[in-house]
């Protein structure tokens, strides 16, 4: 067993309205950051776990995303697994 650190990025589906992203976009424009074209707001989760191999850690983390951490109807996720 080895310790792994997993970073999970959960983002709202591109096709769906993201009102938080729009509000942040408006605020950035109000502050003079006129170059900003599009903003989307998601979630970033960091967790530590023990697994025999990096692949096993990835498999477990994917299972966690599929069951709980991301909603398959509205969100996509990406994982980054590294030795802790």
């Amino acid at each position: 067993m080895a310790a792994y650190r997993v970073e999970i990025r959960v983002m709202p589906r591109a096709a769906l309205l993201d009102p938080q992203g729009q509000a942040v976009n408006h605020a950035l424009h109000a502050l003079g950051f006129a170059e900003v074209g599009n903003v989307r707001v998601g979630k970033h989760l960091v967790l530590h776990l023990d697994a025999p191999t990096p692949d096993a850690a990835t498999t477990r983390a994917r299972a966690m995303c599929d069951r709980l951490l991301a909603n398959p109807v509205t969100e996509d996720y990406e994982l980054l697994v590294e030795a802790a």
Binding site: P12, L16, L17, P19, Q20, A23, L68, L69, N71, V73, T74
Partner: protein, 239 residues
């Protein structure tokens, strides 16, 4: 008198109003704590509104793994009526008992005000005492009420007449196809964002929500009458 189980999660806050509304309609309603695994043989299960687990992660995402949810799912799979109101609707979607999901209101604000909805399906256990097309005023109180589902699912809901309530006039939260409530393919699992339990007496502003609970209570009588007819028609060989 039907047995109506009102499931209480940590953060539920419409459980008492829901229990009272069912009781006022004639039901024997009782609370079941989410840590329990037995619903005590209910006829109807209601998941009330509130903020289960503080809406952490996503509304309803953690509550749907509460121990009682296995029994709720079994009740639904056996065609037992299940009604999810507001946070209850969110939990039913997270649990996969209803399709789609409820996302942050399009204009981000938490909305607490009366809205107009139209009853578009009267063949559910919650709406059979309403007239098709009847317009109601019910209060909403939610931050995550924007119903979304993929195109195929919404087209299916539309085609199968599973959009039970639709917002009329102003769509408060940006919900797809003005959806305020839907039902399952079997029609026994129903979810609604507005709060019918808050409109069951004139003294609190109206009675438009009362028939949701009267419908659930009267379903028993209907079912019973159906049983009698089946016996009369088939088993006894009568015409």
């Amino acid at each position: 008198m039907r047995r109506v189980a009102v499931v209480v999660f940590p953060g539920s806050n419409c459980d008492a109003d829901t229990l009272d509304a069912a009781r006022a309609a004639g039901a024997d309603s009782y609370y079941v704590w989410h840590r329990e695994t037995d619903l005590e043989q209910p006829d109807v299960v209601i998941l009330p509104g509130g903020f289960s687990y503080g809406d952490y992660l996503r509304s309803g995402a953690i509550a749907r793994f509460s121990p009682i949810m296995d029994a709720v799912t079994a009740h639904a799979r056996a065609d037992g009526p299940v009604l999810g109101i507001c946070n209850g609707f969110q939990i039913l979607c997270e649990a996969g008992l209803l399709p789609g999901a409820l996302m942050r209101n399009a204009r981000l604000r938490f909305l607490s005000r009366p809205v107009r909805v139209r009853v578009e399906a009267t063949d559910t256990p919650c709406t059979h005492l309403y007239r098709h097309g009847e317009e109601l005023v019910l209060p909403i109180a939610h931050g995550d009420g924007r119903y979304v589902a993929d195109e195929r699912t919404t087209a299916e809901l539309e085609a199968e007449g599973r959009i039970v309530w639709r917002y009329i006039g102003d769509n408060p939260n940006g919900s797809t196809r003005d959806i305020a409530g839907i039902c399952s393919a079997g029609r026994t699992v129903v979810g609604i964002m507005p709060h019918p339990e808050r409109r069951t007496a004139s003294i609190v502003g109206g009675t438009d929500g009362a028939r949701v609970f009267l419908s659930l209570e009267a379903a028993h009588a209907t079912q019973h009458a159906g049983d009698v007819r089946a016996v009369g028609g088939h088993h006894l060989g009568l015409r």
